[in-house]
Symmetry: C2
Subunit: 373 residues, 2 copies
DNA sequence: CTGAAAGCGCTAACAC
DNA sequence: GTGTTAGCGCTTTCAG
């Protein structure tokens, strides 16, 4: 029995002296009712403080007006903004969002998905844990649970549409910008473990965003006829401190004139490294990052970035999911959004003519790059 | 009728050749069952791919294992982190969160609360829209919906516990830090519209966080025997650009040696203003901000701040709500958490002896504070 | 230990 | 236009 006594359609019906059915009809707006009973039911409902029970409604109708959003971490600004975009898009329909964090843990993701399914959500937006495959997701999807993939694809979920940034094109955007400025020695900071992944879609596998971004960089270089120098590819784990260390360790020997950091976390780490190394940006080195984080506009110089529009991704994800819910048999259509190039002050033409001989970066480790303090 | 055909306890019961009741008993773990039927039911369930319907369970039990979190904006890092804290705390209990954004709009808040109530959430964590009172919230609360207030109190909701930062004490922390460094001319950037609110709790009203923070500042000055100079109280709207403009307009005439920005948004605006004015921090001016935003550690110099621990607030909110749900008659107990003082490099002793005569800030508007770019 | 049956609050035929 | 009735899937007495 319910813990809180609540007023039901039956109560309202009794008070309005009509049948449960009539009360339900005026309360739900469906079916036709007389002006008279409409008024009396409304009054009774107001007087009693009737609150409809959406659970009961969902039980009989089979629609909960609730969707699930499963992401690694809602506190991550990117996912928070995506959720915001989804939320904005579906608010008008009276749909609500249940969120779950997975911490990139396959187990937690599976549990979360099952729980959402048990709660009978109408659909799920899933940013899957990276080393897929998501068996539970595939299972639910194959049973008819509308599913939309966010940011990345996972093996076994080919039946779900993907809503994502065009990772490769966005990386190409950044790289081309540097190339257009005249850079040829462009370093990239990437979390792709091996450079062996140079062939896109190699081994029939689905590329992760990081791989796609690396590929975008490589293809931009190739198009420009710039030969790849493996020393310019700096690998790092997905951590600020790791990225910082990687940049400190690898940059000075690379003779790079520009650096492209390929996700928000390593962008922060790289900037920290450059600051502590005393690198003058963009004089000694042009720097372009990923994601429009607030700090990139607060520092000196403001950092140029390529950015994904998270709100728009959220909107697109909501639209894709709604389409899937309303017409499960429609062909699945991915939504791959272009990234933006936000030019600020951290990128400029290489300085080879003036200061550094041959455009190489000569670092003086340990020097602090600002005089104050 | 449900849109997706699903396997129910009845299906499992039939397959296991037991009654619905027995199947339900083993599936839910409640009641006693024989080892034999337990095994058969489990096998049948696994074979059929049984997924329990939490909706139906909720219908009969009256508990949805879902709570609502209503905040102005989930994309705001503070609220995102709070939600994360709540989520982490309740995950082990199998409880999920429905989020709603209000954009600080009373109407939207009301609708969201009603919808959550209709969805029969077990409780709600609410960061109420500032210019209360929340009539709907009060109504729901009085009807027995467990409610916890987050970050700020609202009139009419005295029956709900508050989980919040100790705004006054935290502002005092920041102010005392500056005082201890030797500052006496400490400017404050506040969104409190009128200085008439100097009396805490004046007119019996409930103070907003901004007011409490201002009060903390004032009381710290008073304790230290420093007389308040009204010109040091800089009012601003809750917007970066407004704060930036306010600082640019008011700071030079104030002869301040330190500036305390009392929320995250105006902290960003103030820093921008100081940077564009060419103020040397902390040489000409000590600066302390609010909230541990990432950019405060990326800029030069890193900015000292007082910060609220959002994850801990989330955990406290979750605990408070759970307590309320489990024992609605227990006395309501607020959880007021202390803030942290994070000392970085933007605060130092005033420089009056050396550079500026009488410790006054002499600005050179228009000059850029860094030489590069 | 197990089965039958009632009920949670609402919707949706189906009659009248 | 309105009332009656049968569910939605699960829990929970109440008998046996």
């Amino acid at each position: 029995m319910p813990r809180r006594e609540s007023v039901t359609t039956a109560d309202v019906a009794r008070a309005a002296d009509v049948s449960k059915a009539t009360a339900a009809r005026v309360l739900s707006g469906r079916g036709s009712t007389s002006e008279a009973s409409r008024r009396r039911v409304r009054e009774a409902a107001a007087a009693l403080g009737y609150v409809p029970n959406e659970l009961a409604k969902a039980m009989s109708v089979g629609i909960t007006n609730t969707i699930g959003v499963v992401s690694p971490d809602i506190a991550n600004p990117f996912f928070a903004a995506v959720v915001r975009g989804i939320s904005d898009r579906i608010r008008s329909r009276g749909i609500e969002i249940i969120i779950s964090n997975t911490d990139n843990d396959q187990q937690i993701e599976s549990r979360a998905l099952r729980l959402l399914a048990a709660k009978q959500v109408d659909g799920i937006v899933l940013a899957p844990v990276i080393p897929g495959p998501g068996l539970v997701a595939a299972d639910l999807s194959s049973r008819g649970l509308p599913l939309v993939l966010l940011d990345r694809r996972t093996e076994g979920l080919e039946a779900a549409p993907l809503v994502s940034l065009d990772h490769a094109a966005t990386a190409r955007l950044a790289t081309n910008h540097l190339i257009a400025l005249g850079h040829t020695r462009i370093a990239i900071l990437t979390e792709v473990p091996e450079l062996a992944l140079l062939q896109p879609g190699s081994q029939g596998r689905i590329d992760r965003p990081a791989t796609q971004r690396l590929w975008g960089y490589l293809s931009a270089l190739a198009e420009a006829g710039i030969e790849l120098d493996p020393r310019l590819v700096i690998g790092t784990a997905y951590h600020q401190s790791a990225a910082e260390a990687a940049v400190r360790a690898s940059l000075s020997g690379s003779r790079a004139t520009a650096l492209f950091a390929t996700n928000s976390v390593v962008t922060s780490g790289a900037f920290r490294a450059l600051a502590s190394l005393g690198v003058s940006i963009p004089k000694q080195l042009s720097f372009i990052g990923f994601d429009d984080q607030e700090w990139t506009t607060m520092v000196t110089p403001p950092v140029s970035v390529v950015a994904q529009p998270p709100l728009e991704l959220g909107v697109a994800a909501a639209d894709a999911l709604m389409r899937r819910i309303e017409d499960p048999d429609a062909p699945i259509a991915d939504a791959i959004l272009p990234g933006d190039l936000l030019l600020r002050a951290s990128t400029a033409a290489p300085d080879d003519a003036t200061t550094a001989p041959q455009g190489a970066l000569a670092l003086q480790p340990g020097r602090n790059h600002k005089e104050d303090r």
